[in-house]
Symmetry: C3
């Protein structure tokens, strides 16, 4: 578990997989941002998942099943958060003066079902600035991230708790290794 100024990452469950699966770990992460917008650094938790899996060569796949937040790979830096806020305000403004069709066209009944505050700008920001999924290589037992790279969830519609799926794919499947060892 990692807590960074009002944010939180937890592994909430692990799926059971057949022993000969090339996916060796499938973990659900709960990620909480307590403000309306915020960035959560997932790097530490993801490195732990890879290390615990004992995978030497393969890749980590991360999937974000949401439409108003997404994944970013960049430097973890408070200055950059401010800069991206400015860039995104230019691209997809969020102010009481700017109205999105996504928000305006909803009926009160639809609003009730969707349980949504206005979030047209959040959808647009997620589409332009984030990725719904990422594959990161695992080499020599560790995540192959660049020196300045962090893997982050960027939230544009908080406060919310989001679920991510993180799966470790091995390039050396257990049964193959097993049958070699038994030979």
């Amino acid at each position: 578990m990692t807590t960074v100024s009002g944010t939180r990452v937890d592994v909430i469950s692990r799926d059971v997989l057949p022993p000969h699966s090339s996916i060796v770990v499938s973990a659900r992460l709960a990620v909480t941002v307590e403000g309306a917008e915020g960035v959560v650094d997932l790097t530490g938790e993801l490195r732990r998942i890879v290390a615990d899996s004992g995978t030497a060569e393969g890749s980590l796949h991360i999937y974000c099943g949401h439409t108003t937040c997404g994944l970013v790979v960049n430097e973890r830096d408070g200055g950059l958060d401010l800069d991206m806020g400015e860039v995104l305000e230019r691209i997809a403004p969020h102010s009481s003066k700017h109205h999105y069709a996504h928000d305006k066209l909803r009926t009160p009944a639809e609003r009730l079902v969707h349980g949504e505050r206005d979030n047209g700008h959040s959808h647009a920001r997620a589409m332009v600035a984030t990725h719904p999924e990422l594959s990161i290589p695992i080499t020599s037992g560790a995540l192959y991230l660049g020196r300045w790279q962090a893997v982050m969830l960027a939230e544009f519609d908080g406060p919310r708790t989001r679920e991510l799926l993180a799966r470790v794919h091995t390039a050396l499947p257990p049964t193959t290794t097993g049958s070699t060892a038994s030979a």
Copy 2:
């Protein structure tokens, strides 16, 4: 086949793969948008491909081999289409007053070879707002999409028919299963 207001998705062919391949389905989709811009929802067709494949654990990879359209994962909503149109007009305007070097620098001969109308803005929009490829997890036999997520082709240079490659990768290769079954 799915038809949504002037758009159309068809599986046009399936590649033959060796029986022990970890890619168990490789399908070519033809996607048609009849307007100059438009969004086609691929979700139903992709769910069917995954269900028909009988794959329990793995992933679906979708590849878009084009440069003026691309893949988007977000909510399927007419309001959002209007909003993204506005966002993209801000980023990469499309008007008779705005000229792109991509369009201006072409000779008439090049235009003939490329068979292109002006589409500088289409290239820019595809680069900023879409993905050329996506991997979506398959868990317990189904696509792992979030409640509000749809997988869409966003066309910026229509009307055209595009070809996508959708491939199902299993984490439980047939031969491994086969040898287990024969034991």
Copy 3:
């Protein structure tokens, strides 16, 4: 090796992988851009890596471990480079009048450690316009790229030499093929 007007791509090393690995090639590429910004076409080198690997069905994964450059798939065209420069100047301006928090908030000591010129705009441009990683299908022994598609590194913080990791994943693992052949 490919040289395109002040840019350069080289395979600098190949990782040794176990013989039964589903990753059959893991190559490090050094990519140099000699200007402050520039685009390097990687397509030729990537096609060669795939052809040399002898892989019939699978995928090529490319990972960029940097935060101020990234990968782009689009048409290779000088006009488009100019257009994207204009689009990105609109989104994340680079001028002596525009100041980024990422640059302003650094202490002289931090600047020394990071060895950085001002590059707030470079981070923002990489986030909005590029991908940190790409998976491209390999079908019938070749990269499945569209007719107009090129795979490029877009540099926003040059001159620099960057390292990319390119790995070929086969869907027909050698040991499986081997055991079938020996039967």
